[in-house]
Amino acid sequence: MEKLLFKDIDEPGLNTIDVYRRRGGYESLRKALAMPREAVLNELLASGLRGRGGAGFAMGKKVSFLPKGAMDVYLCCNADESEPGTFKDREIMQKNPHLLIEGIIIAAYAAGANKAFIYIRGEYVLQADILDAAVKEAEAAGFLGESILGSEHSLSLVVHRGAGAYICGEETALLDSLEGKRGNPRLKPPFPANQGLYQGPTLINNVETLSTVPFIIQMGGEEYAKLGVENSTGTKLVSVSGHVKRPGNYEIELGMRSRDIIYGLAGGPPDGRKVKLWFPGGSSSPVLTGSDEDLDLPYDFDTMAKAGTMLGSGAIIVVDDSTSVVDVAYKTAYFYRHESCGKCTPCREGTNWTVKMLERIKAGEATPMDLDIIASVCTNIIGHCLCVLGDAMAMPIGSMVQKFRAEFEEEIERRREEAWAATVAPEPELPLIQGAVA
């Protein structure tokens, strides 16, 4: 397969505009600006490109939802990559920032946006510095600013640094945070496409989605749609981490067999170990097991949805049989409890109590009934919150309890016995005198 996003990703100086242009950079922009706006949109629609941030919504459709008319339209690039296990956007921004900027300019042209923001998580200091420098270079070269390349299109681009909050990767929380508020999600509808940043229509897309746009323009939407499988077109960056020999980002064609990613590219678990479970799309996705049936699933949006999970952000976290499923569940739930913004009750309380129940299991104070309570908490969170953060905890925890119930029960029993053995009082040294106490 020919690489798109990761083609010569380690070429020295690729993050500078000179090297990027020498390799044909910003040519797609020139081509797009020579086309009418609707034609660019049609290419995006024809490509079938689905959002790479987690929800997998068709990008072209999202652009077409923006209302027409004379008003300020905004474009936000979601670079708040905080989903545990995901680190693909980091590599794009660090090594090929101009690809992202070119994609943003083209997408802004298609959407009719004149102001764009990159919301990058505050922890990515190096990447934000690189983006800042790249934006300056692009401005100096005339790709950003008034009437780009002599066309009618003008665009300003601001790199906005977050300050450490997972919830700001949720699109409406991102908008609130970008407006200088606490990052609380908003009630939807109205969706950001109608009323987003500063109450204006807003297009929000992930870094990888926007970075793919130049290739779609260069190849043509239909040509791009030939990559991958039906309904999951194109290439995808997958971040493989956890118990694998070669963790890292790999560019694959969608529809590749999951086993070939985990074992072929990432080297599989350490020798002598077996895959116990894996998250196919970041820690928010329901887990799959190490069974042949699950490992042989093609890695694409629809197959994953059919298997009861999701492709999400494309982050595969592999857990081998040396780790207890209770510990994985605890780590997952703990993260969501920490990151819940506290705005809606099911998520704020549900994450908290799930962690407490898992703590009870770890401390040897639980009974198998706690598993039923965990499952019922999970079903009561899903669909009952403003955003999907609560669901993102409930889905993986619920799936772990469901698929590894026997192991949970064994662990509860084992840890209870351990705790009991540790607390039984030692035999008193002196024999008790019968009847001495009135």
Binding site: F6, D10, E91, A163, K245
Partner: protein
Amino acid sequence: MSFEVRRFSHGSRVPDWNDAVDLTKDPASVPDPATTPVPAELRAEIEAAMARYPDHRSAALPALAAVQRHHGWCSPEGIEQAACVMRLTPAYLTAVATFYDMFDTQPVGRHRVYVCTNISCSLRGADELCERIEQAAAGDPDINVRHFECLGACDIAPMASVDGVYVGPIELDEVDELIDDIRNDRPPLPRKQLRLRPSADTLPLDGKDRS
């Protein structure tokens, strides 16, 4: 039989709930520029940030980050200065500052060491690493070690962010060297920094263990 409910200040049953505020004072309004001295550098930085957005309030995060750089933490004094420049109430900015993990609303050491202890890192021993780093830095008021949720570098797990520089994978026997580098203001473990790491996708599939 009578129970006496223990009461704390202002008749509350909860101790220390009002530590952060002085209830005898009126709510703080937008600070008066005449009585709020703001360092020129800080003012320039905040004003430059405000100019970049259609709505100046969007500069709240960059302004608080600037306050943290100048004062070492988001101190009440610093927040008041930012509020003065941005024409907001200090309460508004305090509410924002307390939401985000990277803003410290208590004084901390000037070196910030975030150790990722999320799923992928903890599968590779991050909890023990975090403990060891905490032990090695114990008693040093300059180093602020805290465990952090996913920092987005699971390929170099277990890892830490040292003043914004990503380092990993960190072996347990490298902890002392790391702390030594931080204490002496040297770049932390230069050979292990993320910026030097080649993409896994470009390396040959030779079956070698690179974790």
